[in-house]
Symmetry: none
Subunit: 219 residues, 4 copies
DNA sequence: GATGAATGAGGTTTCATTCAT
DNA sequence: TATGAATGAAACCTCATTCAT
């Protein structure tokens, strides 16, 4: 999943201007890992620098050597996720076969991909969503980056479907793809809550796939 | 649900067991109002008891006379919203005419209703979502209450549509309605972010309505 | 020395807007007293909120209830000093008899007054001087207030002396009075260092008085 | 005093005992220069080792190779100033002509010298004064060194003037010279604050010169 | 009912300082 | 010689929370 050189998620050193060397980069990585890990078990607003540092086997002071605050660390994590995850989702849409006979299977794969990605990064995505809702533009851009790859690919697919006559000509590809991605993202985010209501992952996946295939290929 | 008496959103006095009189209820209301107001301009995790109290023209000590903590106040607000908003959304679906010729117009009204409700209570709904995502069951139940009325009504409508032969017989009404409500809620929540991308409220409403009508009445 | 009502040196409550009541004012006073006391034995830059609070028999949190930071407390002290001390010094000059036969005695009293005031408030005056030198205008104004009463009085006296023919007509009263006050303030501030060099307080007082009398009354 | 070799203000290496070579001395010089520079724009108590080091293009660790702490660097700077400045001021007094016809002109030069020196080293002199006031004997000695040359020279001049009959025989040369130097130093230090009050540099210089000439040569 | 006042508790942040390289 | 990196230690400052009035 992307060879991502160690400095991909790095801006420069915070405290002073120096670019960190190998040891420093490793520390930074450990801090990011701890942040990510802690986020799984802790509410965003309960994340503490002390805890992150301890979990990374270092001291708060060291944390501040690499990040001005927790938000910055989250931003770095979000950046990585937007890159990796965004590409992954886009590929699922783009490399799938959407012609009527295969559309439903492809749609299943896409739905599955969303569910899986959210499953794996639930907490971080939650932070991104929250910050976006609160108006933070840096996070909003990352969120857009995460979703837009698939959305654009979907839009192109829809345009193709319209041209092929599978979809009515008054279809609005941009709006439709946007709404579909919203649906995928939201269901993926709230899957747990829904599961409680008699819909397990497979059920959800198929329901999503049906709407998706239907909307994109009228199948 | 809820006899709508003035104390509907009230539990009893916290500190002592006394039931608040008129003056007390007024204070409580002011505190709730301030909380709601502050929430518009402040991130959840930045809400402070002092600020709420001061905004309500009273003191922190007084806040604690009515709520054990900020979460409790938010819960009270969420409770009211779930009641009012839930009924409102359910009515929109239930009282609409979903037979093919009218389905699209009804769908537009429903979509509009979601967008409007979220517009008006963005911040509070954000808190509800966040808490739900973080696993808080009290908020999850309120969230369900907010969404389930419309979801159930939609489900019944879909069942009717299947029976009427408008929708294929292998349709899964529960999953489909769930997904559709997800879509509505998510788009409503992120409308602003989407508006930035060339989709204004009307556009979004129509795109939503199309999918909705299509899914429910094959129109 | 000025009955100074208890709120003379008070701005309003810091944390919230409320005006402190009697108990609060007392606490505030204790904090100021501790600050002043500690300043005697501690360098300005080594003053800590914790220490001040402890010395006042309260907690740091309480300190912040009354002052945003240490500087604010010092400013309050300086304000009081400027008021009280400024009036005192002015009176010494103004109420003295500067006609030739008495000028020297009056000058002695003035010099003595400076030495005494600085002796009693050495540390605080040091802070005022330092802040002034560093360009802080709030402190500079207070410093001016402390010195200008006497300076102005002196200036008027000099004008009178010129008119009376005791001083040459090309005397510049403003500059002369300014310089004389500088001399008094500086010697008062550094008296200890000078004492080390064979000049005790009496010696200094007389040396100052001589220059003073000479400059003001040509005696 | 001081053979003015390049290492005059240097003690030996701190960390190890090694005597610094040329490169080392250059680094040390850069650190001193940065300290001096930063002092212009920063309050003493806000000087940080990190900032000094970074400003010198090196690291904190390197700073500690040459100075045990910031105070040591300031002491080194003060030492240089006391040497250079002290000699300069003394020469002004000593090499001037104080006989009645020339006294005023000489006095003007002396006053000008003080104003200029303080103008150029305001911040450092401020530190020296502060430390002196706070009882630090190392700084007090340097301060004395800075001022005593001129003071002693003045004292000798006064003695001469008494002998010549220009001044009354009961004059106390030591006290008088001390007070005069105080006046010069203080006005020089606070010149800016005074300028605000309608006294520009020239005005001040002349007012100082008048008192000086008058006190030393009865002119 | 309401609230001045006080504070324990705890996280944040900053630095001086050290060491291994 | 120089310096990345790390951190102990200490202040700072903020809040939720509690009483006594």
């Amino acid at each position: 999943m992307a060879t991502a050189d160690p400095a991909s998620s790095a801006s420069l050193r915070a405290v002073d201007g120096r670019v960190p060397g190998q040891r420093g980069r490793a520390t930074r990585q450990r801090l990011l890992a701890s942040t990510s890990e802690l986020l799984e078990s802790t509410a965003y607003r309960d994340l503490k620098v002390v805890d992150i540092a301890r979990a990374a086997g270092t001291s708060p002071a060291t944390f501040y050597q690499y990040f001005p605050d927790i938000e910055a660390a989250l931003l770095a994590l979000a950046h990585d996720l937007a890159d990796t995850g965004g590409r992954e989702l886009r590929d699922l849409v783009e490399q799938g076969e959407w012609s009527p006979p295969h559309a439903y299977t492809t749609a299943q794969r896409v739905a599955e991909g969303y569910l899986a990605l959210w499953e794996q990064h639930r907490a971080l995505i939650g932070v991104i969503d929250l910050a976006t809702l609160e108006g933070d533009s840096r996070f909003r851009e990352l969120r857009t980056e995460l979703l837009s790859g698939a959305s654009d690919a979907l839009q192109r697919t829809i345009v193709g479907a319209v041209d092929a006559g599978w979809l009515p000509s008054d279809t609005d590809p941009r709006a439709l793809s946007g709404v579909l991605v919203s649906m995928l993202a939201h269901v993926a985010a709230h899957r747990r809550g829904m599961s409680g209501h008699g819909m397990d992952a497979t059920h959800l996946r198929d329901a999503l796939a049906r709407i998706l295939a239907w909307s994109v290929a009228a199948v």
